[in-house]
Structures are given as structure tokens and as C-alpha cells.
Symmetry: C2
Subunit: 121 residues, 2 copies
DNA sequence: CGTCTAGATAGAAGTCTGTCAACATAGACG
DNA sequence: CGTCTATGTTGACAGACTTCTATCTAGACG
């Protein structure tokens, strides 16, 4: 579960994409992470985990929120795990997931527009 | 080209994903935009356009930066266009693209982690 | 040990995606 | 008008993705 994280992309990629052109390797690594959150179920899973009290959520809490089967949720959690966005830990009967906020922060930083006038409303 | 923008998602989605759970419709709309940037070529296209002087870039500038054929670049630009991230305008012989910084800003805002301690380095 | 539950894995079916070659279209220009 | 160049569109195909059912594994507990 919490096996060696692939320690994704994130190394050489913090300058906003609008400041200077992404290198090809940076783009490849970033694309993997964005692909991980390019599915509605995975986005909601990530959001449920990140916004859950205590910063973590049990798979049992997550499964009920969707119309798909357990294995499908497992699959999506695996994709999020392999992208480095979340990590899971077994405690007794249940498995708890939590997000890696640094990864989220870096994705957010990469997307910041160049023009400082375009502030968040 | 600059036909009625689909005026994507972006309406009801500015609260960070880690603050409260995304609704299903929000997730569906956001996922479309993230899917648009989940390809290395499209990420680099977006970055090239956004970081280009004057805030716009001609397709002719873009095509040379990649190993794929013209039609493939056209296809990727179309995906970015349909997601609302960029817009193109023909001026004489060439077509110029520019990004919509608000869309970028909103994506960035959605990904901001909950914990304020996780500031950008 | 046997059994029950939470979750993960495997394999299959159907759908979507990226890429190309071939063709179409829009201005520029003679 | 005819032709050349810059982009876009179409149709095809291989590979990747999502979801399911069936099966397996790890703890809990009697």
C-alpha cells in the first residue's frame, strides 16, 4: 500500500506553465498527474479524501458515494495512488487514504496564470 | 474559430477541492478540462502559447516544436479550444492562439490544498 | 482453525484517444 | 482566376482506459 512512492514528476516543475515553456520531460510527468485527475470519479474521490475531517477517509466511506462497484473504486484509488496524489494505510479492518498536499500545491502552482492581474476572484 | 465558447464548467466551481467535496456535475465539468491538459503535447502547447511574447502564438511557431504531424497539432489545439482553455483567431495567412487566463486561474484555485501551511515554496 | 468482511487483483468487453495519410478550405499573390 | 501556403477535417487503426464479474488476500473474531 504505502510502498515506495514513484515520487512523481514534481521534481523539476514548479515554475508556472505560463511563465516559460515546459520541457518535454516536465510535460510528460505533469500530464500523468493531470490524467489521474481527469476522471470525475477520481476527482470526487480526491475531494472527498482531502476535505474529510482529519484529512483522511476510509474506503468504506468513499464507496457509498458512487454508483460503481467496489473494484472500480479500488481501481481509481490505485490510479490516484500511483500518481502520487494520495497514499493509503491499513489500520485493522479498514484502509484509510489521505492526500499529499505538496503535490496538490505544485499542480496548483503550475497552473497559475502569468498575468498577476488575473487574481482569483 | 472563435465561435461561441462552450463556456465550460467553470461556473460553479471555485471552492478548492480540498475544502468541500465536489458535486458530481462540478466533477464532470472539471474532469473535462483536466483531461484537456492530461496530454504532454497539449500541456506544452498551452505552455508555449501562454508564455509566448505578446501572450499569443501562431500555429506555425507551435508546429515546429513537436515531432508530430500538422493534423495532430490541429487536433490537440481543437481539444484545448473546446475545453475553453485557448482561443484562436485568423489574421491573414496565419492563425494565432491565446489562452484564457481566467480558466487557468480557476483550475489553479481548485487545486489549492486545504492546509495553508502547505504554501508554495 | 474456520469464517466473515473490507479491499485488492485479474481478465474480459466495450469505448475512447492519439496519430497518421489523404483531402478540403481560406487567404495571399501573381 | 490559378496556384501556393497555412490550417483544419475525415476516416482508419492501434493502443489505452473504464467498468464489470469472479476470485483472492488480510485481519478480526469466535
Amino acid at each position: 500500500m504505502s510502498k515506495q512512492l514513484p515520487i512523481v514528476a514534481m521534481d523539476a516543475c514548479c515554475s508556472p506553465l505560463a511563465r516559460e515553456p515546459l520541457s518535454e520531460p516536465q510535460a510528460v510527468e505533469l500530464a500523468k498527474v493531470f490524467k489521474a485527475i481527469s476522471d470525475p470519479i477520481r476527482l470526487r474521490l480526491l475531494s472527498l479524501i482531502a476535505s474529510h475531517e482529519g484529512g483522511e477517509a476510509c474506503v468504506c466511506d468513499l464507496t457509498d458515494a458512487f454508483d460503481v462497484t467496489g473494484p472500480t473504486i479500488s481501481h481509481h484509488l490505485k490510479v490516484l495512488r500511483e500518481s502520487g496524489l494520495i497514499d493509503g494505510e491499513r489500520r485493522g479492518t479498514w484502509v484509510y487514504y489521505r492526500v499529499h498536499p505538496e503535490v496538490l500545491a505544485r499542480l496548483s502552482a503550475v497552473l497559475v496564470p502569468a498575468d498577476p492581474a488575473t487574481a482569483l476572484v
